[in-house]
Amino acid sequence: MLELLERIPFPQQLDRIVIFAGLVAGALITPVVVVLLALLIFDEITAAELVFWLAAAVIILGALGAVLLPNIVHATLSLVVALLGVAGIFLLLGSEFLALVQVLIYGGGVTVLLLFGLMLTNASEDPKVSDGAQKPFAFLVGILLAAVIAVALVDQRWENTEPVVAPFSTLGERLFRDFGAPFEIASLVLIVALIGAVAVARRDRDEDDDAVEEGESS
């Protein structure tokens, strides 16, 4: 386990990456922020809209980074950026709780998990990955799907309603009382994932003693 920890590029390497990534992100997001601020100032957009566009820009840029960056670690970190942007959207939609969950789970859990995975699969030695041969197809299909959905959803005549903030109490009631059963099931899902991940990934150390025992019993 110790030797595993040593292989994690932490703190120096990660520091560098984070700093570098922050610089790049800043460089990319600054023009957006400037434009949005300008629009806000000239009363073209409201503050909420500014937040939306900002978050959207973060999300899109982060997502693009996640799928385009050749460096696997960069891509993963870029995902974190995108997911944080999603948390911003949640905030905008009045779900502070959800935003919190998003930041905690993704920013904390998932990212670390992914990084672990990266390191365990020797990504630190060869972080550059090449993309598959069907990249052009993928590009077309991605655009196609996005376009079709977007066109369809824009085409839809939506009722003109205002977004409402979900009260915490309501959420609690819903989550722990009304959806108690799914909640229980979800706990099973987590257990399965936990046990499963361990069972699959663990080296079959106990096989030897299985064999021994089989030998005994037979």
Partner: protein, 481 residues
Amino acid sequence: MNFEYALLIPEFILAGAAGVVLLVDAFRRELGVSRRLIPALAALGALAAGIASLFYADRSTDFAGLIGVDDYTLFFRVLFTVTVLVVILGSHEFIQRNIRHQGEFYALLLVSTIGAIYMAGARELLTAYISIELLSFSLYVAVSLAKDDRRSGEAGLKYVLLGGVASAMLLYGLSLIYGAAGTTSYEGIAAALGDSSVQGSPVLLMGLAFLVGGLGFKASAVPFHMWTPDAYEGAPLPVTAYIAATSKAATFALLLRLFGTGLLPVQDDWQWMLATLSVATMVTGNLIALVQTNIKRLLAYSSIGQVGFMLMAVTTVSDASGSALLLHLAGYLVTNLAVFIAVIAVYNRIGSERIEDFRGLAETQPYLALVITTGLFSLSGMPLLAGFVTKFFIFQAAAEEGFLWLSGVAVIMSTVSLYYYLKVIRQMYVVAPAEGAEGRWRPSLLAYGVTGVLFIGIFVIGLWAAPVLEAADDASAVLFG
């Protein structure tokens, strides 16, 4: 709302049994028990759950509006617990030899059964989704649990990655349907979609397309089936059997309840999708099966072909096709399990999955050859056997709903399927055993018992389907009143 947790007792039993199995396995040495106890415990748990579920016969209630506790659920509770019981009993020998982490394995099987049951029982999208994930997660793991088999890991990887994509698609579809209906309960959706302004609206159509795609993956409908052959082939045999049985049946249970109640008002918008998938599925599955040489892969494609038939029943959703589908699922499960358990028993002996290596089985093990033959004939819809009756019903039901052409395609493909089944049967009966093959051998007593029961079951459903059909009809009546 009704929060009577007692309604969920069978699942608690399953979960509890899974926990006990895990614990006993973990502290086996400390407790000093034989490892044979583990499958026994698991089987007991399944049995207990099955019996417990019988107490909910003729109930028509639900848990918190999320999980229906009705005859429909009952039908699948029994079906799934029996399935898991059969798989455990029929393959414990195989599992002992070829699966690592047996405690976890049995626990996963039991837990996944809960997922399967709730997929059938779910009356609300979130519950349905989380149940799907419970089942899927268990299977992702189970597929990858084979010992010393590189294919197992590959199969698991394909399954989990593509499963993730499919989940995303499914969720996207669910979100759009939620957006269109404003609620996630099936009744609510049905009520909301009854409004003609919603029908045919772009958001709904998108939602349906993605929903069909996502569920199509779980059901292995073409073109979302690609994982199926690989996962079937890579997975340990009992898991293949289990996926082919429970996973598929559960998906159809969910499909039928969802499309038969919640989405029924917008039938026009999704019927063609399912019909298309149905045709594509049965054609592709059966045609590719023609050229397979591995028994698992063959059964995988064959099961894809079967999915086409089942999709047909969902396409033409009605009271009749509902009960026909349930009958078909029951018959299909019995048949499929019979084939798989027999194949497992053969595999335990010959250690090969290649169809060629089944040659001369009628000489060396006539009983298993007979079971496999009967099962395969049943799968191809030959008479006296379950497959004939159930397919007849399902096709007839489609014809009743004006889909005679679809029935026609189905019958044609059913005939094509006979060809590749016959190729297997040919190896067993016509080709002489390999040189130097051992003489007659006997499978374990348990394998005899389990296959025997299933073998009789094939004939019982084939010749006296009345009890099962009545149960199916009661269950279907829950949805279609």
